[in-house]
Symmetry: C2
């Protein structure tokens, strides 16, 4: 029927796939459902994507890139403000992208996305370590082990995200302040 341009169709498929993956996870997503929601035929998907994996990878690369771009900006802020903003961004992201995060948690061990995941986690780890090191240098933070503390901070953020996902807590934002205080009391140099 030649209804659309190729680039347009590809975009529509990606958007539909994004929806379905977020709702159902990787293995729960069927090509049939993506096709249905994109308003294209089953075979039509395979014109633009070799297979389901490729479709998934293309989406995941986008998501990681978006997240990375937003958090990398924090490097320029003051350590305290950067930490606060990091916590806020994490919690905010979790609230606004439940489906996406759910997908990545549920299928965390898919072999074909291992590299992508490692790169992502490492970049976050480096970012927080950087913030902490800056704080230590400036005398704002105690003389902590920055790598290890960065990891622990990320633990708590991911744990909060997970509990929110699990439905264990309703108002995630509420915990932002508690998290900030707990972290800060643990690393800040005493004023007195």
């Amino acid at each position: 029927m030649n209804r659309r341009k190729a680039t347009e169709s590809k975009k529509i498929i990606l958007e539909a796939a994004n929806e379905v993956f977020a709702e159902r996870g990787y293995s729960g997503t069927t090509i049939r459902e993506v096709a249905r929601r994109a308003g294209i035929s089953i075979g039509g998907i395979y014109i633009y994507f070799q297979n389901k994996e490729e479709l998934y990878l293309e989406l995941t690369r986008d998501h990681i890139e978006t997240f990375r771009k937003h958090t990398e900006m924090l490097r320029d802020k003051e350590p305290l403000a950067a930490l606060k903003a990091l916590i806020e961004y994490h919690l905010d992201y979790a609230i606004k992208n439940t489906g996406l995060i759910s997908m990545h948690i549920k299928e965390y061990d898919l072999e074909f996305k291992k590299n992508l995941k490692k790169t992502f986690f490492d970049s976050q780890q480096r970012l927080v370590t950087g913030i902490l090191k800056k704080g230590v240098m400036k005398g704002i933070f105690k003389d902590i082990n920055c790598e290890e503390t960065a990891e622990v901070i990320l633990f708590s953020l991911r744990g909060a995200t997970m509990d929110y996902l699990f439905g264990q807590i309703r108002d995630l934002k509420k915990y932002g302040e508690s998290l900030y205080q707990l972290i800060l009391n643990g690393i800040r140099r005493k004023a007195a």
Copy 2:
């Protein structure tokens, strides 16, 4: 052939199922594989369990009960010791039961185990809140919001578990001390 007693067969099936579920998660587990590993036929499984869900639930109930029993004992300890032991137990459990935890994380939203999960999470929450309240009463901890702080502590423990599972960190035990310090500095009443 009447090789075994019914109770024995059921136990063998449960053990096999435990293995396979831990390795492959719920949906990744096939009755065929459980049967193969239990040394019984496919149909044999259905003599003892109505279906896959029931098999899974029976196992999960056991696991939760074991965990709960071990942590409830901490109520009698001194708050500081209880916190330390709780952290230790969590990390230890994560290391020794990767497969199990992986299964629960990967299929966290299975409808038929929702109640079981909520009960489990709530009991942990109550336990930590109790420990904190005792500490506050004794003047060991600051006048914190016990419920909220308990949640944040559980965040960090679950986050640590998750990062370990994700392969992001290798030596989980190493982070026990960091976690303890961060938490403690955040809630302990200053000695001076």
